[in-house]
Symmetry: C2
Subunit: 226 residues, 2 copies
DNA sequence: CTGACTTTGTGCATCGGTTCACAAAGGGAT
DNA sequence: ATCCCTTTGTGAACCGATGCACAAAGTCAG
């Protein structure tokens, strides 16, 4: 497991762990701002809303960055997690589809503060093309490939209508993009080498509705017909 | 396991299954629109982007709604899943925080089409209060409790700045809201009886960055110092 | 009515993730 | 230097979810 103490770089961090690292990072940033120098797994776990054993196991996948009896040094841990997530480099992101959602994303501060740079906005609507949003000129979808290459975009955010998503997806994949964040409510088909993460706002609401219904005694009161 | 054949209403559908039901529903709606009357688990699974065995097992938790040798009747399945998710009733949703994201959500068609009704918009900024967005008058945060009661809101969407989220959360919980969709990048603390689902746009990007870095041979080329 | 064919529903092995609980490792006081 | 206290890192049991593979159950043709 642990070949050399100071070079843990174990390939294969569990997916569930990767998904939580940004959470820890957020909590750690907050602590750093408040001038906290050192934190125990217990405290950090609370701040991130997880169990402390889980947190320790997650961090142990990155290496032994804690001190027994003391805890973790906040700044150091921030650096290690950032590096592991690849946030020490600059990522150029293109947002395709500048409707309400696209605009919201373009203005979203959370991207910039994590090393992501919105490098291009692209849309098909001639009304929108040429507009300046969040300091960026909206470019035409016809120039999609050129824009991606010119700006060195490596991650594409799809905020187009559902009907347009697959076509745009195919085009960006064709020019070499391998990471896509999809907000359109469709299942994209892509080669295995491409990573797609999807966010569907209405799905989250539906899950809430399911639980809400249960709480309200829903399934009992509606034994339809019987 | 299966007490009575025609009344499966087994309490305790796995969480992973619940999270996929909206996906199936979306695929089924698409098929219904295209006039498809019947679908096999194989085809539906493809459309939803999952394995067919998983789909069958998921559906079996709701009951035996398929016909062996034939498949599932699209309309019927839409109804069963909708009912299970609680989408046959009308859910009044309030959006608190009418910044870029709040506006995007207010205008998002995916909510309405799934039985969710944006019943109120609330903000603290006097500039925004009184404005009409998506046909709704933006109300003042001071009236939060009154608005929630008056409109019969049962699900609250938090799209406030991080700093305001916990306070708003406390207030809506105090008036009886037990389902919250949180877009603010903070861990909310709530009583056990309250369901919180969170969406953090920057987390998804960070996960993509992690994988992108790996693809690019990242961790090998950056063995810093060593 | 019978037999071939299709597709569901599920038992079972497996896997990844979570949690407990504790030994190992460090700090600090005396 | 020794002992006690704190906290990490992890072995091991557990739990839920996944996916294979197949029997059961249905359709349809003849």
């Amino acid at each position: 497991m642990k070949s050399r103490p100071s070079q843990p770089r174990d390939r294969g961090i569990p997916e569930a762990t990767v998904a939580r690292l940004p959470l820890y990072l957020r909590a750690l940033h907050g602590m750093a701002e408040r001038g906290i120098a050192t934190v125990s797994s217990e405290d950090l776990a609370n701040a991130a809303g997880v169990n402390s054993a889980k947190l320790r196991k997650d961090l142990s996948h990155l290496g032994s960055y804690g001190t027994r009896g003391v805890g973790y040094e906040v700044e150091y841990l921030v650096y290690q997690i950032s590096r592991e997530l690849g946030l020490t480099q600059d990522w150029a992101v293109a947002i395709v589809g500048v409707g309400n959602l696209g605009r919201a994303l373009a203005n979203y501060g959370g991207f910039v503060s994590r090393g992501f740079r919105v490098a291009a906005l692209v849309d098909a609507d001639p009304e929108v093309v040429g507009e300046t949003i969040a300091g960026l000129n909206v470019e035409h979808i016809d120039d999609l490939e050129a824009v991606i290459k010119r700006r060195g975009v490596s991650i594409v955010v799809l905020a187009t209508p559902a009907a347009a998503a697959q076509e745009v997806c195919d085009r960006v994949v064709a020019v070499g993009v391998t990471s896509i964040l999809n907000f359109a409510p469709v299942v994209l088909s892509v080669p295995e080498t491409v990573d797609v993460r999807k966010v569907d706002l209405s799905i989250e609401l539906q899950i809430l509705a399911f639980h809400e219904q249960r709480k309200a005694g829903g399934p009992l009161m509606a034994v339809d017909g019987q």
